[in-house]
């Protein structure tokens, strides 16, 4: 498919441009890895320093909502992968359709996350606002606050990803980006979405499954 690519400055051949596109995106996602990685390093530190408090805090987290959300995200990633596959074959409508499905699953993830935050609020797990659960009295509060930072930052990334997929679906569906000549737009949006999925794949065991 590389032969059909729209070539732009400063590249002299499609293959070179294509490799630069992917390399740039992988490096950007590397910076995101380090952003979330700092949080993950803290999780390990808290587990080492306060093993019992962390296990106690993790038992207050909603394992089944998180499991359903993991399944939703993994499935949305399949839809995005199918959209990329369709883009490479020039299936304009299929791209919009698969991305639409991925967006629906991503939105369902955020809706479930909202339900979860509401339950956290009413149970008194949130810092500063709402009632105060006794589990927040000890070092477990460190872990619970970190859970809000990690999932909140991830939810922001989900919102960016949904906006990105929506924009790409509109551009490709409305013929403003042609496929397969500009399939790279779908590929790069897809990389971002899959990455946000991978971040969740680690948030899930580090927080929800840390019940000891």
């Amino acid at each position: 498919m590389a032969e059909h690519v729209t070539l732009t400055e400063p590249y002299v051949e499609p293959r070179q441009q294509r490799q630069a596109d992917f390399m740039g995106m992988y490096v950007f996602l590397g910076t995101e890895t380090m952003l979330f990685g700092g949080i993950f390093a803290l999780v390990f530190a808290y587990r080492t320093l306060h093993p019992d408090a962390v296990a106690e805090a993790a038992r207050h987290m909603r394992l089944w909502i998180a499991t359903a959300n993991t399944a939703l995200l993994l499935t949305s990633s399949l839809f995005v992968a199918l959209a990329v596959h369709a883009a490479r074959r020039g299936g304009r409508r299929a791209v919009a359709g698969w991305l639409g499905l991925a967006i629906a699953f991503g939105a369902a993830f955020l809706a479930l996350k909202g339900v979860e935050y509401w339950k956290d609020y009413t149970e008194g797990l949130m810092p500063l606002i709402g009632p105060h659960a006794s589990v927040r009295d000890g070092p477990a509060a460190l872990f619970i606050d970190l859970y809000f930072v990690a999932t909140g930052l991830h939810a922001i990334h989900m919102t960016v990803g949904l906006t990105l997929l929506g924009t790409i679906a509109t551009l490709v569906g409305g013929r403003r980006k042609g496929v397969p000549s500009q399939a790279v737009v779908v590929e790069m949006g897809g990389l971002y979405w899959h990455f946000v999925d991978v971040v969740w794949v680690f948030i899930y065991p580090l927080f929800y499954l840390a019940r000891g």
Binding site: Q19, M23, G37, L74, H85
Partner: protein, 91 residues
């Protein structure tokens, strides 16, 4: 289904199986092995997503290296932090 589509669906099925396995491991009496297993499954899932969904299998080695370099640095960051925390009481 084309071969490519079959592969994508197979990867998704594997990801769902790994999710089921990690939930099962959480409720099994595995003791200290549990976090190791759960993290191992997370790495297996991430590898599948990176290799197939994120196109690493189509890339030259330089791009593959760029994609996982941050993970290597991150593992050092976590390992050295843990080395500090776990040995503080020894000296």
């Amino acid at each position: 289904m084309s071969r490519e589509t079959t592969l994508l669906v197979a990867v998704w099925a594997a990801l769902m199986l790994l999710l089921a396995a990690t939930v099962a491991a959480t409720f099994a009496p595995l003791g200290a092995l549990k976090p190791v297993l759960n993290l191992g499954i997370a790495f297996a899932k991430a590898s599948l997503v990176f290799w197939v969904f994120m196109h690493l299998r189509e890339q030259p080695w330089l791009a593959r290296l760029a994609a996982v370099a941050a993970v290597a640095w991150l593992l050092m960051l976590i390992a050295l932090t843990q080395a500090d925390l776990m040995t503080r009481s020894l000296f």
